[in-house]
Symmetry: C2
Subunit: 393 residues, 2 copies
């Protein structure tokens, strides 16, 4: 099987011989994405609390939406009828949709974050079963039975119309056995082939497909999976699945597969995106990151800050109640420049939604500046000193 992506390209513009990080440009029908970059999560076809105008103003290059959520509400047919995700949402730039596989995992096992933090997770009741044919579950909106499998995921993603799409996979949990992880990874490879076949059938040059590297925390499985993805005609490589219980373990996994990933293809790190992950991840060749973190922590009153220990401050803290300083005027967006921390603190205390707009856009702008700075630093060989500037010990 061979699939070509004539309207897409990935051009590597520089590789830093010291850090191993690289810069590049992903070209899509909706525009270019300089890499490394950050894909912001508009789960249900909207970045929480922000409009596309806010996203543009904050310097955003690319966004994603979640297949699982959109097939439940409003349904792929509605999005297609409205002209696809870009027309539907008003975000006219590059977009990615995931396969829905991660949510299948979440329904079945609880999330990695739950495990790491020792939260008591019980099996969600919406999942009916997962087997070779696909995942069967109930809509959380109206309880109707639904199915997600490689063919359906490709069809739904085709209708949603994002530029970058992802093969159907199963994402295994940390606590499952190696035997389960191996069997699941093998199924994900078979699902990869089914995804490629389904993708090819309706391929019209408007979308490009990523394969997903699974294999959990097991070196041999990760290598098998990475070799599979590199050997199939995917446009890009996504690294998924459970990445262990510590940063050390996560970066160990990236190290195992670093030399097995297809070097000429863009590499996406699924669901990971703290500032420190960006600085670490790019050294393993990661080109794009995504995480709900920037907008999720905003809803808890947190502002990402450059040069602050722990990457963030909590605006609910009483020390901000009469702080006249803005969040960061150097970002040159009104929300980060024109509003005092005292005002944001007040809005949070008063339960005013404007606080979440301000903090969400600020956090997006901080991350976008981080990515711009990281790209410059890779090109100038100054990544390590930039890291110290952003993340003091």
């Amino acid at each position: 099987m061979n699939i070509s992506y004539p309207n897409f390209s990935f051009d590597i513009t520089h590789v830093d011989p010291v850090s191993g990080a690289r810069t590049g440009v992903i070209t899509t029908p909706h525009g270019q994405v300089p890499t490394p970059n950050y894909i912001f999560c508009g789960t249900k076809a909207s970045i929480k609390n922000l409009s596309p105008a806010h996203m543009r103003e904050a310097g955003t290059d690319i966004m994603l939406s979640n297949t699982y959520h959109l097939m439940i509400q409003p349904g792929a047919d509605i999005v297609q009828k409205m002209g696809g995700l870009q027309a539907f949402t008003g975000w006219r730039g590059p977009m990615l949709t995931d396969s829905g596989g991660f949510q299948v995992f979440s329904m079945g096992h609880g999330s990695c974050a739950d495990e790491i933090k020792g939260r008591n997770t019980k099996k969600k009741e919406n999942l009916i079963r997962i087997d070779e044919t696909g995942a069967y579950f109930r809509s959380y909106m109206d309880g109707r039975q639904m199915c997600l499998n490689p063919e359906i995921s490709m069809e739904v993603q085709r209708k949603l119309g994002a530029d970058l799409v992802v093969q159907m996979d199963e994402c295994t949990a940390y606590q499952v056995t190696k035997d389960y992880t191996a069997k699941s990874m093998e199924m994900s490879m078979r699902w990869g082939d089914r995804s490629l076949a389904a993708f090819e059938k309706t391929h019209d040059g408007t979308q490009a497909l990523y394969g997903v590297v699974q294999g959990g925390v097991y070196e041999d499985l990760r290598i098998t999976s990475a070799d599979y993805v590199a050997g199939r005609p995917f446009f890009g490589t996504a690294i998924g699945g459970c990445l262990g219980g510590s940063d050390h373990e996560m970066y160990g996994i990236l190290e195992w597969i670093r030399s097995r990933n297809h070097a000429a293809r863009p590499i996406h790190f699924l669901g990971i995106g703290r500032m420190k992950d960006v600085f670490e991840g790019v050294k393993y060749g990661i080109d794009t990151f995504d995480c709900v973190m920037p907008t999720r922590i905003a809803r808890h009153g947190m502002a990402l800050m450059k040069g602050v220990k722990g990457e963030r401050i909590n605006l609910l803290n009483a020390r901000f109640r009469d702080d006249p300083e803005p969040l960061d005027p150097s970002l040159e967006i009104p929300f980060s420049r024109d509003y005092s921390k005292a005002y944001i603190h007040h809005l949070l205390k008063a339960g005013e939604m404007l606080a979440y707009q301000i903090l969400s856009q600020h956090n997006v702008a901080v991350i976008n500046r981080l990515m711009r700075d990281v790209r410059s630093a890779i090109q100038s060989g100054t990544l390590e000193s930039l890291r110290k500037e952003y993340l003091p010990e």
Copy 2:
């Protein structure tokens, strides 16, 4: 007692001999307000779900905040320390604060709306007592005992720093007796004199004071109260209190006092502002309206529409799920022009906050256009045909 307002003026530019409506301009230190106009409610120093940039884009001239809420959170001292409401909120145009009296009423009796709709209201537990000296209540934030009286209201409003401020009054409920209403109105007049005295003490030309006409649904009381306000050195007249249980009763009250209001002063109608109230109110000389309605109904999925029976549509209605049309492209703001009703319907169904931004700004823009159109129609003597255009039978 005489108080002058050298930095303020109200210039009547036209009186329509047919409808009785008038146009004018209120000049304040923070800019001019062409009248008739609409004062949007930023209760806790924020228009719910909208930024000052959204408000400007929607053509807003003036906003208000509530003294009662701000004295509880963040406290007037914090707002003053941050440079006053305009600097604190980033809204650099004209502002009004109310006296806090309405909330005292709400705490004691439940709202007029509750009564009209037959809702079972129980006395809120935060109110401790109201007597001649003032209103005593507990903060809903931390339970501490607080007091609002004419002197405190003037001091708090001075610290908040809005251009237009309002005398302390008690707002009576529909179900109270005439005797109670009369005694309350007399107290409000004494509170008016105390407000004037307190206002004069620190008067530095940056603020202008409105008196409030009370007297409930009783003609003689309304006339006594209107004569009181007209005879004292207030800058403007606000019409408050319970306005009855029907539109007919409300407009009857406006008719009683129409000739008693000081004709050279701006007249504000407290808390009233459906489209039909605007068309009716201007005929009784009302210059400014305020109501939480435009942003409140947005949070229930409602969009104000010109030329639609009932003034609004409910975007949650299933008929909008695949409606590709925008709300109203003629408003020329992105939220009303660039987003399909299908997308807004989806956002509402999915619980995405962006829906409330879109609908809130749209509704503000609809009202601001209404006020522009009303001003033009008064000048050209076409108010009645404009009303038919906006409000078909």
